[in-house]
């Protein structure tokens, strides 16, 4: 246990401001503009609460009123492309007034490789098009970020982390955006290769604390807890890491979380995941004394491979929106018809907003009715998540930060495919006859026998339906179950 120093403990102001000054702001020259935190906060207040465009408040109100917020994603190399594209979407779709923006930075920025981001900016100017996969927020700095904030009508959040998103988050927050993802394990599993989990948690503690400070000082924040990992993870694993992150973020003082689910595309299983996760986030937070924390369920779309044709992509998106609404989400992050090819275009995003809003109109107040299949799924999921939580808490002697690090070492915490070198990856997942995600082999994950059996039984339904035994090839081909175009018989 002495292996890791990390603990789930709030950073003191002293530590926080030391890190800020020594480690975060110096990462790139634009950090200088953020030195005066009071100024940052009051600017943020003016640009979000002041303009009536605060992300956290909008989200909370929509949740209370049962309104669905649509959330397009957008990220281009240059500020002018950003403003042009986001205004286009707001002008060509019914995004306003029930919308949010999810802006992503480019991957160089996410890797704190601001020199390469600068190369990308140069190249983009030269070529007259975007040569980066997102907006390099750090290179452009806080004033440019404020310019965007002023130009668009819907509240914004920033999606920019891999190992270390602290400077990006500082910049976004000071511009009146929402920021500060709370997702150390997600990051390791989805985007990282070499960083240790304890280091990543430490970095994320800073981000969470940062959001909390803004919140405490009157600029409400709603950091994202994401489980949109590789697109090929079990619901239990996704749910588990969200509960863990809830504890880590709450300790730093976050009061409102945006639970961002990456769904697996089976309505019943996904609904179960959303419900169980919220319930357990609340329950575990209660248990550890975080009593005034709010969790809002939202969902991103399927994070796996999309089909490379309009109609098939449209079927995917409609199903995803439907699962989100029927499953109880408030905000719906949108992909678009270009998903299989390139980062979203403004035309694609406007189209997605039109589509999703209409589906929302058609569904009205309809939700997935409570039913036995859903309850069984919830029950099994709860057993699974509780088993993993208790295992890690026990190992960490009641400290979840420590426990999860040890859990990764032991292989209890793992997913099937990840770039992260600490991921054991001996779990195998495939889809059952209803396309719910199941453990074909649960590797070293500490799942209750009842849960294992449940998954295997479900898989048998598929074997029966297809009339062939389950095998490893199914695992591989399931990675593309939704992206292969159907065969046309000529």
């Amino acid at each position: 246990m002495a292996k890791y120093e990390i603990r789930n403990k709030r950073l003191t102001d002293e530590e926080f401001f030391r890190i800020r000054k020594e480690e975060v702001l110096p990462q790139w020259e634009t950090g200088r503009d953020l030195e005066n935190m009071d100024e940052c906060i009051s600017a943020a207040h003016e640009l979000s609460v002041g303009l009536g465009r605060n992300y956290a408040i909008t989200l909370r109100d929509a949740n209370e009123q049962g309104i669905h917020l649509l959330q397009p994603q957008f990220g281009r190399a240059l500020t002018e492309y950003m403003i042009d594209g986001m205004c286009y979407v707001e002008d060509e779709s019914p995004l306003v007034p029930a919308g949010l923006w999810n802006v992503f930075s480019d991957s160089y920025t996410r890797k704190n490789n601001y020199k390469m981001a600068a190369v990308g900016i140069e190249r983009s100017i030269q070529e007259g098009t975007t040569m980066l996969n997102g907006w390099p927020i750090v290179n452009f700095g806080v004033e440019e970020a404020r310019k965007i904030k002023r130009a668009v009508k819907s509240p914004m959040t920033l999606n920019s982390t891999d190992e270390d998103g602290r400077l990006a988050s500082e910049t976004a927050l000071a511009a009146g955006w929402n920021a500060c993802n709370c997702r150390s394990i997600t990051e390791c599993m989805a985007h990282c290769k070499n960083i240790r989990l304890d280091e990543e948690i430490h970095i994320n503690q800073y981000e969470s604390r940062l959001a909390a400070i803004y919140h405490e000082r009157g600029v409400p924040q709603s950091p994202h807890i994401s489980c949109n990992l590789t697109g090929y993870d079990s619901c239990g694993f996704k749910s588990f890491i969200m509960v863990v992150q809830a504890l880590l973020g709450s300790e730093q003082g976050i009061k409102q979380f945006y639970l961002e689910f990456g769904i697996n595309m089976n309505m019943v299983q996904d609904a179960a995941m959303m419900r169980v996760t919220k319930k357990l986030c609340e329950e575990y937070c209660q248990r550890f004394g975080y009593t005034d924390v709010r969790f809002i369920v939202n969902n991103n779309m399927f994070q796996g491979a999309f089909p490379p044709r309009l109609e098939e992509a449209s079927a995917m998106m409609n199903l995803a929106v439907m699962i989100g609404i029927m499953g109880g989400s408030t905000a719906l992050v949108l992909k678009c018809q270009d998903e299989a090819f390139a980062t979203p275009t403004k035309e694609g995003m406007a189209a997605s907003v039109r589509m999703a809003r209409h589906l929302d109109t058609l569904l009205g107040a309809l939700r997935l009715p409570d039913n036995a299949a859903l309850r069984e799924e919830e029950h099994m999921l709860e057993l699974e998540v509780r088993a993993m939580m208790e295992k890690c808490l026990e190992a960490g002697d009641g400290d979840i930060a420590l426990g999860i690090c040890l859990g990764v070492d032991a292989g209890w915490v793992q997913t099937m495919i990840s770039p992260w070198k600490y991921n054991r990856g001996n779990v195998l997942l495939m889809r059952d006859a209803e396309n719910a995600m199941r453990y074909f082999n649960c590797g070293d994950m500490p799942l209750p026998n009842e849960v294992k059996q449940y998954h295997l039984d479900k898989l048998k339904s598929r074997a029966a339906k297809e009339g062939r035994p389950l095998d490893f090839d199914m695992v591989v081909s399931d990675l593309q179950y939704a992206s292969r175009l159907p065969i046309i018989q000529k």
Binding site: R110, T129, M131, K193, A340, F341, G348, I417, P419, K421
Partner: protein
């Protein structure tokens, strides 16, 4: 193509800061199934790591996967480094979602042209299946 002895061996990885590992994982299995020796370097592999591995396993080809949209930037100079390392005639493939803006991804001949200019033997769209890529490599290597 006049080349050294073919020994059915490849290096696979994603380049630059690209974390999209699933495609590489699928390729790894497909090449192994087809009897290739595979040095699978995972995600976020630098030029030098690719080259070192290629030397180590005496690879016929390096399969560079790039999906996150910045492949055009990341792949620059890769062929030169191969030449420097004495791998001038190694086959370089790139595949995935290799160009960031949609305009460019849709203008495939231009994408191909650019990668050829950078010294890549072939560029593959992300609709190419793992099996198809195996077949192509075998043909390029003149093996079964």
């Amino acid at each position: 193509m006049t080349r050294r002895n073919v020994n059915k061996s490849v290096v696979i990885g994603t380049i630059g800061s690209d974390a999209h590992i699933i495609g590489g994982w699928v390729l790894k299995h497909a090449y192994e199934d087809a009897g290739f020796k595979v040095a699978f370097l995972g995600a976020m592999v630098s030029h030098q790591e690719f080259i070192n591995a290629a030397i180590e396993v005496d690879a016929d080809a390096i399969l560079v996967s790039s999906s996150y949209g910045m492949g055009l930037i990341d792949c620059e100079g890769m062929r030169d480094k191969c030449i420097e390392a004495g791998l001038g005639d190694i086959i370089l493939y790139v595949g995935g979602t290799i160009a960031a803006p949609l305009e460019l991804e849709r203008n495939w001949p231009e994408v191909e042209r650019r990668f050829r200019e950078m010294g890549f033997n072939r560029a593959f769209k992300n609709t190419c299946t793992a099996k198809e890529s195996v077949t192509t490599l075998k043909a390029d290597l003149g093996v079964e």
